[in-house]
């Protein structure tokens, strides 16, 4: 069977490039229309990873930068499945995350926020989904932090999430927010996404049954990548 195209990305479900309330986008947004391409081999292929690329502790942010202790903060589990638009699992794909520490400070030489660095917290992790598309991380809940946009903007607590899928056309970076956070509605970056249901897809839900009693609270976050057509009739995508 010949491979088929990925479904067209629904741009109305994503933020437009120019979102003036998120000021940095004003000079970083193309003015001309994107050139729409039908998929070729260049788009339906993408990097392949294996467990040789990662190590066992890479998905445990409580332990993967430990310098003699655990990081300060609320211990959480973030878990879920990577699916495509057809509800099929996306197996064996790389999921990477990064985040601020519990005080809202990033371990980055360009971050100068006055909250302190945590000596036991790096703030990044990675894992591969299993055959059912399932993944999990253990970490501490990141803190909210101020950022320069208007005079007084605060990012809601969030974790950055990077996912590959099986094709360069599926590549995605998004952010995970936490259910019930009142800063979500006030954040110009969250609100670049025009649709309330779309924003809700980025909000991890408290998953009380997945918590570890007396240890860690859990949040569920399913990630959806683009799906692809089934090949009912030959469409000569590959040529020959």
């Amino acid at each position: 069977m010949k491979p088929a195209e990925y479904y067209m990305r629904d741009r109305a479900h994503h933020a437009p490039a120019l979102t003036p309330d998120y000021k940095t986008s004003v000079t970083r947004s193309p003015q001309y229309a994107l050139l729409s391409l039908e998929n070729s081999l260049s788009e339906i292929t993408g990097p392949v990873f294996s467990h040789n690329d990662i190590e066992a502790l890479d998905n445990d942010l409580i332990k993967n930068y430990s310098h003699g202790g655990d990081p300060i903060g609320e211990r959480i589990i973030v878990h879920g499945r990577v699916l495509d638009e057809n509800s099929r699992p996306v197996p064996n794909t790389m999921v990477e995350i990064w985040q601020a520490n519990a005080g809202g400070r990033y371990r980055h030489k360009k971050d100068t926020y006055l909250a302190p660095i945590d000596p036991n917290f790096g703030g990044c992790g990675r894992t591969m989904t299993d055959a059912d598309g399932y993944y999990y991380f253990r970490t501490v809940k990141p803190g909210a932090y101020p950022w320069r946009n208007w005079v007084n903007n605060w990012r809601p607590a969030h974790i950055h999430v990077s996912v590959f899928g099986a094709a360069f056309a599926q590549r995605l970076i998004t952010q995970l927010y936490f259910e019930g956070d009142p800063l979500i509605a006030k954040c110009p970056i969250v609100q670049t996404v025009p649709d309330a249901e779309a924003i809700d897809q980025m909000v991890a839900k408290l998953d009380i049954n997945a918590t570890i009693p007396l240890d860690s609270i859990a949040y569920r976050f399913d990630i959806v990548l683009r799906g692809r057509r089934s090949t009912l009739f030959e469409n000569r995508l590959e040529g020959n």
């Binding site: 741009r11 890479d58 980055h108 030489k109 790096g122 990675r126 970076i173 683009r226």
Partner: protein, 200 residues
């Protein structure tokens, strides 16, 4: 019909390096960071370097940008099961590229890709697929890099660009010196000379 909807994209933000290139953020955490060796030691073909800068709409360099590259090997095959061909052991074809935080300049080493199959039996001129994320970019931007010493005249993607002068924004220029072959490729996110970006 009920389909799931794709999770919305959000900006990678200014600290993308923490997650995807932590050494650049200033700390060492993973045994092996991903995306630093695109071609591997066994790749056939011409070894090249690509250098450039990404500019914003005011003409200033974007110093916190990250690029990912995806390319075929010198025979025009991708390291992916759907290509249907094997590639050299260690050839991955994928890379991560970050800038010098002070200047915004970036560069990567690879091999020059071969022509690849396009749709409907067409041949795509050699190219490197690029994906660009940064603070202020809400949805990662896709584009392609072609080579000025290749015959690009029949490339099915370049020929879709209606304003023919804009095709030049996707073509890297070759320079040779004692250190080797370098292609120069600047990306203009907005404004005069805006790069052609693709909805793939």
């Amino acid at each position: 019909m009920d389909y799931l909807k794709e999770t919305p994209s959000q900006t990678a933000g200014p600290y993308v390096h923490i997650g995807l290139a932590p050494k650049a953020a200033g700390f060492d955490i993973f045994k092996q960071e991903l995306g630093w060796d695109i071609a591997g030691p066994n790749a056939k073909g011409e070894r090249i370097r690509v250098e450039g800068c990404v500019y914003d709409g005011t003409g200033a360099p974007i110093k916190d940008v990250m690029l990912e590259t995806w390319q075929a090997n010198t025979d025009g095959h991708y390291a992916h099961p759907e290509d249907g061909h094997t590639v050299e052991n260690g050839f991955r074809g994928w890379g991560r590229v970050i800038t010098d935080f002070d200047t915004g300049l970036w560069g990567f080493d690879t091999v020059k890709p071969g022509a690849t199959l396009g749709r409907n039996g067409t041949i795509q001129a050699p190219h490197i697929n690029l994906w660009i994320v940064a603070r202020g970019i809400n949805v990662g931007l896709n584009t392609r890099l072609y080579f000025d010493d290749c015959d690009n005249s029949n490339d099915p993607v370049l020929n879709l660009i209606e304003q023919t002068q804009r095709r030049q924004t996707l073509i890297a220029s070759r320079h040779e010196d004692s250190k080797g072959v370098t292609y120069h490729f600047d990306i203009h996110i907005q404004g005069t000379g805006e790069t052609v970006f693709l909805d793939i």
